[in-house]
């Protein structure tokens, strides 16, 4: 089945490349809100499912791109392990491939690494229909360019992910979330002070005058860190972090455009219009705002950061932070090396790619 599925995809790509037909790669279709709106023939990889190899003591799992994130996570959980980057699902049908194509990383990201940090290797099909393998199943591998990590976040514009090898982590023995009342500026300061100390912080967020800090690790270490940080333990903390990750908190409801603002973590409060939720110790700030895109990007850019129109707003414009001309032109040349006919998710990331 697998070989024939691979062949089917290759045939579709060959045919599309020959006629210059745009393909819209789709897993569980849970992330269609993200990126620029595009048109193309749907190329589904949803049925390319299943875990290919998993030996818990190797801390590596290999799975097909169409494998549902929920299935993957439940298999890992049974062995006391997890995905270190704590990805958002944004829907029941979320697949591993789609998650990596979008490079979605959750609350643990600033402390434990991003989606790409956990990718060890991929098998993929490029825009000329070639089946290619990069990286592998081992932790350390510097043979050839690091294409597998480069594909993470490329939103299907370079290649179609088929099989993915991931590093996984043991689940922490215990977790506790503490809540402190403070304003946003104080929260940023506290989070960055703690992050510079050997404390087992695994998530931090500030919302409505409340700072939430999650500590993860072994029982003794977490308890002693909790005592030194202070604050009220938050009941049902797992639900809170899940709702933050899945954008189900009240902050995320309504129709106002949602911006993801990324700045150096210790950056002070930015003069942006609208409500802000601080995540990642200040490194990621969610903004609900109708402020003009150029203005948001100018403010974010001058702080050394970038802004993404994450949900809503004008999906036909530039939803991702514009690239410098020299960098954009390099992106275009790179895209051509993978997808010379320009058929893989054209325009999903940037108009020019």
């Amino acid at each position: 089945m697998t070989l024939s599925f691979q062949q089917t995809i290759q045939d579709r790509v060959h045919a599309a490349a020959a006629t210059g037909t745009a393909l819209s790669i789709q897993g569980g279709n849970s992330k269609s809100f993200y990126g620029r709106s595009t048109h193309g023939d749907v190329l589904s990889v949803k049925e390319h499912q299943g875990i290919l190899d998993y030996t818990p003591s190797e801390l590596v799992i290999s799975a097909r791109a169409g494998t549902r994130l929920t299935e993957l996570e439940s298999v890992l959980e049974q062995e006391g392990q997890m995905l270190g980057f704590e990805p958002a699902h944004f829907g029941e049908g979320a697949t591993l491939g789609g998650t990596l194509a979008c490079a979605f990383s959750g609350p643990r990201r600033p402390y434990a690494g991003a989606a790409r940090d956990y990718v060890l290797g991929v098998n993929c099909i490029n825009g000329t229909g070639e089946w290619l393998r990069f990286g592998g199943q081992v932790m350390k591998n510097v043979a050839g360019y690091d294409v597998s990590r480069t594909l993470v976040g490329s939103q299907g514009t370079l290649a179609i992910l088929l099989d993915i090898h991931l590093r996984v982590l043991p689940r922490p023995e215990t977790e506790i979330t503490l809540q402190q009342s403070c304003d946003a500026a104080t929260a940023i300061q506290r989070c960055n002070t703690w992050a510079a100390q050997p404390l087992p912080v695994s998530a931090s967020c500030h919302l409505d005058g409340q700072l939430f800090i999650r500590l993860s690790g072994m029982e003794q270490g977490v308890q002693s860190a909790a005592a030194s940080i202070g604050g009220e333990p938050l009941p049902d903390a797992a639900v809170f972090w899940q709702q933050l990750r899945e954008q189900q908190l009240a902050f995320f409801s309504g129709e106002l455009p949602l911006w993801r603002v990324a700045v150096p973590a210790a950056t002070g409060i930015l003069p942006l219009e609208g409500d802000t939720l601080l995540d990642w110790g200040g490194a990621q700030r969610w903004l609900r705002s109708e402020q003009a895109a150029d203005s948001i990007r100018a403010i974010t850019g001058s702080a050394g950061g970038h802004a993404t129109l994450f949900r809503g707003g004008d999906r036909s414009g530039e939803v991702f932070h514009p690239l410098q001309p020299a960098l954009l032109s390099l992106h275009q040349r790179l895209k051509k090396t993978f997808d010379p006919a320009g058929i893989l998710n054209p325009g999903r990331m940037y108009r020019e790619l």
């Binding site: 190797e58 290619l132 932790m139 350390k140 043979a143 690091d146 990590r149 150096p264 040349r333 090396t337």
Partner: protein, 484 residues
């Protein structure tokens, strides 16, 4: 272009002391730490300023002269081996730390800054830069990025690629690009990942922003001795399976222990067939709990001796033997050759046994001192370069070991890079379409193939030659092919 012409051009645009052409000035650049390969460059350029780097690149691009970048020259795969018809571009003078941002826990540094000096510069703030290749006292951060360097602690803290945030680079055309950024997850393709480990083939690194981590409250080492390599290998898997990720987990086999004990007295048990050094770090509470668990695992796996470091002095003593392992080999044998394959941990015992068999077959002793926790093998083949044919047999044996790594699902290089050394084994690990994709990526950065040509990614022609010879004679190709 002739040597005279490019030298004239370089001299016209650069200060005199930046351009070296005399044989005695070129000699120090004829090899990196893989001294088996040597080649004098056509000319060495040592710029002082970014503008001078830019000028050098522009002149080379204009005149189609290849450029090999060099940091500290500590690379182990011949990645900085000069080209006879090329410019060797040394970035050694770019050795300043530009900015330390304590609040954001990053430092901006020039490429020639040594790895260890970054940690030293931020130690007062309780921070450090995690990747610690064994050459960290000498190796430069630019070279670390080019090779995606690892080290003893990457099991827990990752490789260079996990610990940098931004790069400033120059393309072969002298164009400046900012890659990554001060904020997390920069927009566009993850070029930071692509450039890290690209071995000087895509761009010249002129600045690196590294991430700084809080120094753990405490680190302690457990030393466990085993009466068989199999038992030691199996216990590595058991430790990881127990839910602990040690900061480092290193294995020394019997020949390595013997060599080390002759060199310095570390107190490693002499009757052991293998020992493991397992470092645990974190808060005092966590480390105590982890030591207890790790000790149980080792005991259950049949450890014949277990010792825990109780203070910093003891911890350093346990590590002293590991750190002295390479120099100790140097005393045992006129030359040694260090391999760098990585395998899935579950195949450790099998691969170590097969390496032993190969060692007997070739009549060349092999010691194993390596990063067991992440399956990164460093077999050291002991040989004598003065004996006719011994280097060639050593390289052939090394090639066999790497192919064995690929066979069990691993890779030919975990952290040293392909360079020139492992270029033939790239043909074993990757097929034609994959190599073509690599070449295409290079052409997107460097259309005329001027940056470190002939390294890291083999030409298809070369693979055809290697494949043919490999199948028919089981030998590595002739050395003259390596000058492509």
């Amino acid at each position: 272009m002739s040597r005279r012409n490019i030298t004239t051009e370089l001299r016209k645009h650069l200060p005199e002391n930046c351009v070296l052409t005399h044989a005695e000035e070129l000699r120090p650049y004829e090899c990196d730490a893989l001294s088996a390969y040597q080649q004098l460059p056509m000319v060495v350029v040592i710029p002082d300023t970014l503008e001078q780097v830019q000028t050098t690149l522009r002149l080379c691009a204009e005149h189609k002269v290849p450029v090999v970048a060099r940091g500290a020259g500590t690379g182990l795969s011949g990645g900085a081996l000069p080209l006879e018809n090329g410019v060797l571009l040394s970035l050694a003078k770019f050795n300043r730390i530009l900015d330390i941002d304590i609040q954001n826990r990053v430092a901006r540094v020039q490429p020639g800054v040594t790895n260890l000096s970054i940690s030293n510069a931020v130690a007062a703030y309780g921070l450090y830069y995690a990747p610690d290749p064994s050459s960290q006292i000498a190796c430069s951060i630019g070279g670390n990025v080019a090779e995606n360097a690892g080290g003893v602690h990457c099991l827990k803290y990752g490789l260079t690629t996990h610990n940098i945030q931004a790069l400033e680079v120059l393309t072969i055309d002298g164009e400046h690009l900012s890659i990554g950024g001060q904020a997390l997850d920069a927009p566009g393709y993850d070029l930071l990942a692509l450039l890290t480990g690209s071995e000087g083939l895509l761009a010249i690194i002129t600045e690196v922003t590294v991430k700084l981590l809080p120094r753990p409250e405490i680190a302690q080492v457990v030393m466990a001795a085993f009466d068989s390599v199999d038992a030691a290998g199996a216990s590595v898997t058991e430790v990881i399976a127990s839910g602990i990720i040690p900061a480092g987990l290193e294995l020394l086999d019997k020949p390595a222990i013997d060599a080390v004990e002759k060199f310095i007295h570390t107190g490693y048990p002499k009757d052991a067939a293998a020992i493991l050094l397992c470092e645990l770090d974190g808060t005092q509470a966590d480390v105590s709990a982890q030591i207890e668990r790790v000790n149980q695992v080792f005991a259950a796996a049949g450890a014949i001796d277990l010792q825990v470091s109780h203070n910093e002095e003891e911890r350093q003593r346990f590590w002293a033997g590991r750190k002295a392992a390479f120099p100790a080999m140097g005393r045992l044998s006129p030359d040694y050759y260090c391999m760098d394959g990585t395998i899935p941990r579950k195949h450790l015992a099998r691969v170590l046994n097969q390496i032993g068999t190969l060692s007997e077959e070739y009549g060349l002793p092999i010691c194993n001192v390596f990063h067991a926790g992440d399956g990164n093998l460093h077999p050291l083949i002991l040989y004598d370069a003065n004996k006719t044919g011994e280097l060639e047999r050593t390289e052939e044996l090394g090639g066999k070991i790497l192919e064995l790594c690929v066979e069990v699902g691993g890779t030919i290089t975990g952290e040293h890079g392909v360079g020139l050394e492992k270029i033939n084994q790239m043909c074993v690990q990757f097929n034609t379409a994959e190599l073509q994709q690599f070449h295409a990526i290079k052409s997107a950065f460097d259309a005329d193939n001027l940056l470190n040509p002939g390294k890291a990614i083999p030409t298809l022609h070369r693979c055809a030659e290697f494949g043919a010879m490999h199948v028919h004679h089981g030998e590595l190709p002739h050395p003259e092919l390596e000058r492509f």
